[in-house]
């Protein structure tokens, strides 16, 4: 029983991490038809930003208490700025060429991890976290690491915030309408391009937060982390149905749980394969993903 509880919590934590990357990816894809290959790089930037600040390089920030919150805030802000720069400098000039937009983000996705590994070395760096988040707590007889709870809480907050933003605000309305029919929104005289930058900023912000909390989850940061998480985020986006935030949330939970349970009950590493097999099986039954949205 305690094993199942632990696996469930770990799977949910991993799912939360996937959701943080996949939600931004899904929104950007839904609105702009751009598969952002640099999204993993944004996550890495957030992770390294937080690591850099929490290692005592930023005045006031540190590995514990309010200092750590400041470090996470700093990392998230850096990721958001990077996302806006990415949109303005790389993606926007290719506005009329969606395929080239994807290719350009591929280039950024190659360059940024290489740069990070050039500056801080290719090996994993220990991630400084507060004492309070490195312990465990008892739940139904299992010792669950506290950071899983932090990740789940962050993902729930992001999900609620995104739903409120999309459902209740004017900007959210434009984004949702843009996801449905970009041409119509443009025809109504609304500058969809401003919505693009906004969505990129949101996506980058959430991904960078995912990077900061991912450092907590894995206990380390390394340049390749973002790219490897990105691939599972792709699986989540396809499984959940593209452009749907709720679909991404459901799929992230399913993928995270399947991966953890398969890793534990079969050979280690088979969980990653199980996820892809699950994706293949789902595509055979429902090519449009769980929510049935158009790919």
């Amino acid at each position: 029983m305690s094993t199942i509880v632990l696996l469930t919590m770990t799977g949910l934590g991993l799912g939360a991490l996937y959701f943080l990357i996949a939600s931004g990816l899904s929104l950007i894809f839904g609105l702009m038809d751009v598969l952002n290959f640099a999204h993993g790089a944004l996550l890495s930037i957030g992770a390294y930003g937080t690591w850099w600040a929490a290692s005592g390089n930023l005045p006031g920030a540190g590995p514990g208490g309010a200092g750590f919150a400041l470090a996470v805030l700093f990392g998230t802000a850096v990721g958001t700025v990077a996302a806006v720069l990415l949109e303005l400098a790389v993606v926007r000039p290719l506005y009329t060429r969606p395929r080239e937009q994807v290719l350009a983000t591929v280039g950024v996705g190659l360059a940024v991890p290489a740069l990070l590994s050039g500056i801080w070395g290719p090996d994993a760096l220990t991630f400084p976290g507060p004492e309070a988040l490195s312990g465990t707590f008892g739940l139904l007889g299992a010792h669950v690491p506290v950071n899983r709870l932090v990740l789940i809480a962050a993902a729930v907050v992001v999900l609620v915030a995104l739903r409120l933003f999309l459902g209740r605000t004017r900007h959210g309305l434009v984004v949702r309408a843009g996801v449905e029919d970009r041409a119509m929104v443009t025809a109504l005289g609304i500058d969809v391009r401003r919505a693009f930058t906004l969505v990129f900023a949101i996506g980058g912000c959430v991904a960078a937060l995912g990077g900061a909390l991912g450092g907590l989850y894995f206990g380390s940061v390394d340049p390749r982390q973002g790219t490897s998480l990105l691939i599972f985020a792709f699986v989540v986006v396809v499984t959940g149905g593209m452009g749907s935030v709720t679909g991404a949330a459901v799929a992230a939970v399913v993928i995270g749980l399947v991966q953890q349970f398969a890793n534990y009950y079969t050979a280690a590493g088979l969980g990653d394969l199980a996820v892809v097999v699950l994706l293949g099986a789902l595509l055979l039954v429902r090519p449009r993903g769980l929510t049935g949205r158009l790919a």
């Binding site: 280039g107 050039g118 892809v276 097999v277």
Partner: protein, 378 residues
């Protein structure tokens, strides 16, 4: 899109039979023979002692240079095969490395574990790679557009994980596995026989160019072009795009599997680097750099990229870079950073890739000439 189509027709359509423009007639006739001349030059390269300082470390015929040239030709061919999907059918696959690695690893497994003779192992390895492309292609093509890209990437990643986990000691994990020298034909092993491997790589390039050229001009190739331009229109014409796309996918996968086989011989083993997503992305860089959807572009891109990759590696480790201040040294010491930035630059500044550059420059000059003529007449 329309300009791309025009250029496409000019490079790939049947030879123009009408009266050619008088001024260009003689050079055009000579130019038509350049592939044959290039092929001849490449075929006799192992006999040449010509030094190419800056381009190659030793004379052309030395084993080191031949190894690099063979790698360049191999990747030129691989990129050409990959463009069958990207440039000809409009399928952005991120999982092409999987079929390349499958050809290499499967052949190696049949040699190492089953002890089969090389020819049989090669045929079985090729069949395995093709069958894998058929199975995974039929699943991933159930999603269209970018979803297809993501699914192919996921499958390739699963393959990469499988290889690195070293199931049953079969793949050798991060180390890869060396091919058994004793089971390979003796003419394909050792530094003395680099020329033979070079010719094999050249043959693979010629094969790929031939197959792609033939396939693109076949009726199926016409449908691929239609799918690339507008898939809905092909459906409306009563054709099912799925089968045509799967054909392209399996053909490209089979060509990649042959490439994996050549790579196995050339490097003497299977390495897990060939399974990574970075490897597929570098194929993508090659194709876009050279010019997607053109006859020679992917080949040119593949050769240039591979050569630059080796040279950038040397540059990164050279003393000149180590002496630079940190702001310059850190980015310059990362070949992937340079390639990534180069790629973004090519996408932005060079739509259509290197092979369309002369046409673009020519068009620019003609446009300038036309304006000046108009200016005079008015």
């Amino acid at each position: 899109m329309s300009t791309a189509t025009e250029t496409h027709d000019r490079t790939d359509g049947p030879p123009v039979t009408g009266p050619p423009r008088p001024a260009a007639a003689t050079p055009a006739r000579v130019l038509r023979w350049w592939p044959a001349a290039a092929l001849l030059a490449l075929a006799v390269a192992p006999f040449s002692a010509l030094p190419l300082p800056g381009l190659l470390d030793g004379p052309v015929g030395s084993p080191g240079s031949l190894q690099l040239l063979a790698t360049c030709l191999l990747f030129g061919a691989l990129a050409t095969g990959y463009d069958l999907l990207l440039g000809r059918t409009g399928l952005l696959s991120f999982g092409h490395a999987l079929y390349f690695a499958a050809g290499s690893y499967a052949t190696n497994m049949f040699l190492l574990e089953a002890g089969l003779p090389f020819a049989l192992a090669a045929v079985l390895g090729l069949c395995f790679g093709t069958a894998l492309a058929l199975v995974l292609g039929s699943v991933s093509l159930r999603v269209t557009g970018i979803g297809f890209s993501m699914v192919t990437l996921a499958f390739a990643q699963a393959g990469s994980i499988l290889v690195s986990r070293n199931p049953g000691g079969l793949t050798g994990g991060e180390e890869g596995r060396a091919a058994p020298a004793g089971l390979l034909p003796s003419g394909l092993v050792g530094i003395d026989n680099t020329a033979n491997l070079y010719w094999i790589a050249l043959a693979y390039l010629v094969l790929t160019l031939g197959v792609v050229h033939w396939a693109v001009r076949s009726p199926t190739g016409r449908v691929w072009e239609g799918i690339k331009e507008n898939e809905r229109r092909v459906e409306v014409l009563g054709l099912k795009p799925y089968g045509f796309k799967l054909t392209a996918f399996v053909l490209a996968g089979a060509l990649a599997a042959v490439g994996g086989l050549v790579h196995l011989l050339l490097t003497g083993g299977s390495t897990p680097q060939t399974t990574t997503s970075d490897f597929t992305l570098s194929l993508l860089v090659m194709v876009v750099l050279g010019g997607s959807g053109t006859r020679w572009g992917p080949m040119v891109g593949g050769i240039l990229y591979t050569w630059a990759d080796h040279r950038l590696g040397d540059l990164a480790g050279s003393g000149a870079v180590a002496d630079l201040p940190a702001v310059l040294r850190v980015p310059l010491s990362q070949p992937l950073f340079l390639l990534g930035v180069l790629f973004v630059a090519v996408v932005h500044l060079l739509p259509g890739g290197l092979t369309r550059l002369p046409a673009r420059l020519g068009a620019g000059r003609r446009a300038t000439a036309n304006t000046s003529v108009e200016g005079r007449s008015s």
